[in-house]
């Protein structure tokens, strides 16, 4: 690795108590490690319920981990309780763009208020500095100045998406977490927003974690991609390699399910339960078309330090 990672996640876990079942725990994120270099874009894909959102909330420090370390620029952020992190010096450095550009904007704030708030609260700017910063960042995201006095309901979907991005950029973050940033947009608008995000991350040398269902979009916007299944990363590698030569049977099925991708690998069987999963069984074994006897007595591990690796007994580390 040429450069020290900006974010280093080590053996991170988050378990939730299950209502009505004493002692039972749902393993949302399970012993997960990853890293993001400065300026790098990492994609995170997987089905709903695989723990993507929990991981995002852990990394954005909105949720406390059960175990593990979140080392950001040398500091272990897991030591900060989530409820106090709002006042941590790193709060400004990790920012998030949320899924729904309408729901994530305060309807009683103008676009300018929305973008100025983190400047004042997180970056400690006074009113004049915040005003100047709003103008600057609005220009960066291509939001015309005359729209800054509008409320969310007076903006189109694409304009609201730009406000959400501008708000995240305003306090000059170094890591941007994008949670399905274009899921609520029409394709006609999506293309513009994707190009904007890509330009911004290159210009500002922003590290990004890009979470999305849409694998075609992830491929376009990321350097590397991590595939998650039931709380674990099952495959990680350079985006082109993962999409063109997926190693893990789950990734192969996922890629084959992209519309327009030709022959589909059908996944039969049920998703195994994330509640107290047996530690010695591969989580994908119940649906895996290539399952064999070893998968039921030994859970495969993701080889560390390989460029492109999969947690599967069938795959030899590349």
């Amino acid at each position: 690795m040429p450069e020290a990672p900006l974010l280093q996640v080590e053996r991170l876990s988050r378990r939730f108590a299950v209502a009505g079942a004493r002692g039972a725990q749902l393993h949302a994120v399970d012993d997960l490690s990853l890293h993001i270099a400065p300026g790098e874009s990492l994609g995170l894909v997987g089905e709903s319920g695989c723990g993507k959102s929990t991981l995002v909330r852990l990394l954005a420090r909105l949720l406390d981990p059960s175990e593990g370390r979140i080392v950001f620029d040398g500091d272990d952020l897991a030591a900060w309780p989530a409820r106090r992190f709002a006042r941590a010096p790193q709060r400004a450095a990790i920012q998030m763009v949320f899924q729904d550009p309408t729901d994530s904007l305060n309807p009683r704030y103008t676009a300018r208020d929305t973008i100025a708030e983190p400047c004042r609260l997180l970056a400690g700017m006074d009113a004049a500095a915040a005003h100047a910063r709003v103008d600057e960042v609005a220009a960066q995201v291509g939001l015309p100045p005359e729209l800054l006095s509008r409320f969310a309901h007076q903006l189109s979907g694409g304009q609201k998406a730009r406000v959400g991005i501008a708000r995240a950029l305003a306090p000059r973050p170094r890591l941007l977490i994008l949670d399905e940033p274009t899921a609520a947009l029409d394709v006609s608008v999506q293309a513009v927003v994707l190009q904007l995000l890509d330009r911004l991350r290159r210009e500002l040398r922003l590290a990004t974690l890009f979470v999305s269902h849409d694998l075609n979009v992830v491929r376009l916007l990321t350097d590397r991609v991590a595939v998650m299944y039931l709380g674990k990363i099952v495959e990680m590698g350079p985006s082109a390699a993962v999409f063109d030569r997926p190693q893990h049977p789950y990734t192969q099925a996922l890629v084959s399910a992209i519309p327009g991708h030709g022959p589909r690998i059908r996944l039969d069987g049920e998703i195994s339960s994330p509640i107290d999963p047996p530690p010695t069984v591969c989580r994908f074994a119940s649906r895996c078309p290539q399952v064999h006897e070893r998968c039921h007595r030994e859970a495969p591990q993701l080889p560390a330090r390989a460029v492109h690796a999969a947690a599967c007994h069938r795959v030899a580390p590349a």
Partner: protein
């Protein structure tokens, strides 16, 4: 129109629909024409606000109270849908024509077991039709509901019939919606974004299930989506809407290989695919025009189109809904090369 001996199962002609609102009259549909043949799977695509859902609601007679149909015809198997009274329509809905709504979690009754929700449909139409096909005994309803769940590939249907929607995953709820819609074996299914919000693997499974059942039962399906690639994968034909107009309709592969309307071409160009790069992604310029305007251009895409001239603003280009490949444009993109034509013929 060439050699289709049978009349279309669904035929919409020159449909105009408007909403009277405080902010003015919204001309939501104008001169919409559409044909579906028996067993045909047709994709209806377009941006949000293009009128896809408004059209399907109008066909089922479940439009918003502010909606007024001001012109046009819609016939289903010889029945005039626009002239039918509420009693006739409620006979038709759920039995002959069914709909799957966008969000299964909100469309299902949250406090009723899913098996009973399927039985409700069966019971409703059994009373009205008095036909033996549905089965009349109370016990028969339960069995038919379980069978309906089995047909949509829900594992352990006897147990799942007693589940509430919150106990099921999103994909499973959508299967229940499909089971409800198909319980009476309709001849026409309208599926409004049936896989929005589902994962790609679940989406693929739900689409395979829907199209598989449609083919098996020879059920015509109007599949509403904004996902062009998904429509191309699963539909025989695609109809493209823009701002309340149908602008193009063609067999799926042909539409993708050689779109003729500039809007269709733009829509395809803005969709990320497996080979393209970010730089080749072309956004559609501008946005849908405000449909309240009194001075809308005759071709509603004219304001966003680089090929538009005076005529496009003045005179509406016609569309042949019965043609194999119809395009409503005065300056369409070049017709497909001879090779593509030959392939299609």
């Amino acid at each position: 129109m060439t050699g289709h001996a049978q009349p279309p199962l669904l035929e919409v002609e020159g449909l105009d629909l408007e909403f009277r609102t405080r902010g003015g009259t919204v001309h939501a549909l104008q001169g919409v024409g559409l044909q579906l043949r028996r067993g045909e799977i047709v994709g209806l695509v377009g941006e949000s606000g293009s009128g896809k859902s408004v059209l399907s609601y109008a066909l089922l007679g479940i439009s918003d109270a502010a909606a007024r149909i001001t012109a046009g015809r819609a016939r289903f198997d010889g029945i005039d849908l626009l002239a039918a009274d509420e009693r006739q329509l409620s006979e038709l809905r759920g039995r002959e024509v069914s709909m799957i709504f966008q969000s299964p979690r909100t469309a299902l009754n949250p406090i009723r077991r899913v098996g009973l929700q399927i039985e409700d449909v069966l019971r409703r139409h059994a009373v009205h039709t008095r036909a033996g096909a549905v089965g009349d005994a109370p016990r028969g309803f339960r069995e038919r509901a379980v069978q309906a769940l089995r047909e949509v590939a829900i594992a352990d249907p006897e147990r799942r019939a007693d589940a509430y929607p919150f106990e099921l995953s999103g994909g499973m709820c959508q299967r229940v919606m499909i089971a409800i819609a198909l319980a009476c074996r309709p001849r026409l299914l309208i599926a409004d974004e049936p896989t929005t919000g589902l994962d790609v693997t679940t989406q693929a499974a739900v689409m395979d299930l829907l199209t598989g059942l449609a083919r098996e039962r020879d059920m015509a399906t109007l599949f509403i989506t904004h996902d062009l690639a998904l429509a191309a994968d699963h539909c025989d034909r695609i109809v493209v809407m823009h701002a309340g107009h149908v602008v193009e309709q063609a067999p799926s592969r042909r539409l993708f290989a050689a779109p003729r309307h500039p809007y269709t071409a733009r829509l395809i160009g803005s969709t990320p695919d497996r080979d393209g790069s970010l730089a080749t992604l072309q956004p559609v310029p501008g946005q849908l025009p405000d449909l309240r305007r009194a001075d809308l251009p005759a071709c509603r895409f004219a304001g966003r189109c680089e090929r538009a001239d005076q005529r496009c603003h003045r005179e509406r280009p016609p569309l042949d809904a019965g043609a194999d490949h119809g395009v409503a444009c005065w300056h369409p993109l070049a017709a497909p090369a001879a090779a593509a034509e030959a392939h299609h013929a």
